[in-house]
């Protein structure tokens, strides 16, 4: 019963974060919102009794994927500045 309540709360936050990730104009905020989805998904995996998957999702989905997105954005911004010169 408690599990169901937790899943409903986490799920509604995830859906809001997904909408934000799609519709925020600022790309960095959008990437962070996508990271929040993965972080909350790892909590749901824990509730579903899959701790291995929860660890992987927390480390990769919300950690490294966000970093890779930000590195790509940094690269693109750098190329933008190069053309301005």
């Amino acid at each position: 019963m408690l599990n169901t309540v937790f899943i409903i709360i986490l799920g509604s936050i995830m859906l809001v974060a997904a909408f934000l990730a799609v519709y925020i104009k600022n790309l960095v905020s959008s990437v962070i919102a996508a990271g929040i989805i993965s972080l909350l998904a790892s909590l749901i995996y824990l509730l579903l009794a899959a701790p291995d998957v929860a660890m992987t999702e927390a480390a990769i989905g919300s950690g490294l994927t966000t970093v890779v997105f930000l590195l790509a954005l940094k690269n693109i911004k750098q190329k933008e500045e190069d053309t301005d010169d």
Binding site: T4, I7, I8, G11, M14, L15, A18, F19, A21, V22, L27, S30, V31, A34, I37, S38, A41, I44, Y45, L48, A49, A50, P51, D52, V53, T56, E57, I60, G61, L64, T65, V68, F69, A72, L73, N75, I76, K79, E80, T83
Partner: protein, 117 residues
């Protein structure tokens, strides 16, 4: 009715909507990663059995009655590898976006007409 599976399907729908309607290449990749998370949630939710615990045999789950106490370990094992692959594919797509930007100086998909018919 499987709540987590419904949540996974909703995430897949949102991600697909983002991939089909957004113009920005980065937004399209974010949509892809949302689909990824949704599909993983669906697969893990299929293996869940109500009231059971993680598939690790220790003091509280003895080998003898493991079959009555643990959830299905196979979906977990499949998703474990799928998450790592998802990261590699996302990074590869972002690299393509960087290269495209270097060539055309634009992130909008409307500026890439070469393959349009």
């Amino acid at each position: 009715m499987n709540l987590v599976m419904a949540l996974g399907f909703l995430l897949v729908i949102i991600g697909l909507w983002a991939m089909l309607t957004q113009k920005n290449l980065i937004k399209i990749i974010i949509g892809f990663s949302i689909i990824d998370t949704g599909v993983h949630l669906i697969i893990v939710s299929i293996g869940y059995i109500k009231g059971r615990t993680a598939p690790i045999l220790d003091a509280s789950v003895s080998v003898a009655d493991a079959a009555n106490k643990i959830v299905d370990p196979i979906p977990s094992a499949l998703v474990l590898t799928a998450i790592v692959i998802g990261l590699a594919v996302t990074a590869l797509m972002l690299t393509f976006v960087i290269k495209l930007y270097q060539k055309n100086k634009s992130l909008s998909i409307d500026d890439y007409q070469e393959l349009k018919w």
